[in-house]
Amino acid sequence: MKEHLEQCMQAIVDGDSPKAAELAKASLDKGYPVLEVIEKGFARGIREVGRLWEEGELFLPELVIGAEAMKKAMEVLRPALEAGEAAEKLGRVVIGTIEGDIHDIGKTLVATMLSANGFEVTDLGADVPVKRFVDEAEKTGADWIAVSALLTTTMPGQKRVIDELASRSLRGKIRVMVGGAPCSKEWAAEIGADGYAGDAVAAVALARQKTA
């Protein structure tokens, strides 16, 4: 089994979707414990991809195909997870780009990486009104709202999401992370966000670290 887990990890690092799906199916056929296959195999792979990306070893296309391979493996494993063992619930995230801003790709990457790492993600797309973030977070029981803003002119919308949470007395319950080119740790602190993530890998680390 150890060798199998290594292969699972490698399939993600290699961004090999067919291989990842094939290994996931083989895991089920052989009756390996699904959680262990995910945690010690595939998830280890996506964390390795994240580490290499952070170190500048990998570029965006490699990060993306790693996440795509992870998604394929999870599609195969998910029914078994839901049927049997309790999946590790990392948390739920509602994500979107703030109203007035139609930049989409960076946010979609964050959503993909969060999902590949085991978070349940609701992606609201771009140009999302403040109220919609909070409505969806309430509806889905989200732990996090992730708000992207790519322009200095749309950044104030991130603060309005936090204000909206406060007005509904949800501030302590639902955390907010902000990201996007003009944002920074300082900006996150200034508006009272729970964290700043500069890229998709940082977003995963932040969500993991702070979701209890």
Partner: protein, 227 residues
């Protein structure tokens, strides 16, 4: 055409551009972009190279370059520091159009992320190439009068506030090339570039030049050593 103040805006269209290799390298990684110079390497590298090659091929029919420019005084634009006193500044807005952007959106929406980001990067590289094309035409008209141009400055980059975008759109009839501004000062289509260059015998040097060399992020994957 003389580089004169008060000239009518010049619209250029129907030209073609090659996406800028340097921009592609920056966005997608050198080892994926330098096609044909080496063995494609492992299956992963081959898959990425194939996606980039497809994006470059698809982009040919999706890119519709257009640009508009005119000459104003530095005082007319809300430019970066130091621009207000300049006598002659060319301002330009240019675009690759909407078609590529819509294809990217469809690919990403359908979960084809690699295809989407590769085509998006090609779009960015093409928008840069359109800006360079427009810049070159401005340079030629300036050179005809023995003048030179500064590097490009763009709203939202370096020390030029993105709010300056609005003023450029007040001055240039960008609707003639199909570019509009959202209430948040964002250009639609997204793959559009707006810029200003100083025209003079001795054009100003901008603070934003050599941006990589002046940056402290030594391990940044996008760092360009020769910039």
């Amino acid at each position: 055409m003389a580089v004169i103040l008060g000239m009518k805006p010049v619209v250029l269209e129907g030209f073609s551009v090659e996406p800028e290799q340097r921009e592609l390298v920056k966005l997608l990684g050198e080892r994926h972009v330098r096609v044909g110079e080496e063995d494609p390497g492992d299956a992963k590298a081959a898959k990425i190279k194939e996606a980039i090659a497809k994006a470059l091929a698809d982009a040919r029919s999706l890119i519709e370059p257009k640009g508009i420019y005119e000459i104003v005084t530095g005082g007319e634009i809300e430019g970066p520091p130091g621009f207000a006193e300049l006598e002659r500044v060319a301002i330009c807005i240019c675009t690759i159009g909407m078609a590529l952007e819509e294809t990217v959106k469809a690919a990403i929406g359908a979960g084809r992320m690699l295809e989407g980001i590769a085509l998006d990067a090609v779009g960015s590289a093409a928008a840069e190439a359109v800006a360079r094309y427009m810049n070159d035409r401005i340079d030629e008209t300036a050179a005809a009068e023995g003048l030179r141009t500064s590097c490009r400055a763009s709203p939202g980059y370096g020390d030029w506030d993105v709010g300056g975008q609005r003023r450029l759109f007040d001055l240039l009839p960008a609707e003639r090339i199909g570019v509009t501004l959202t209430p948040g000062a964002m250009m639609v289509p997204r793959k559009s570039v707006s810029f200003a260059v100083h025209i003079d015998r001795n054009p100003v040097r901008l603070r934003s030049e050599n941006s990589c060399r002046n940056c402290d992020m030594d391990t940044c994957p996008y760092r360009l050593d020769d910039e």
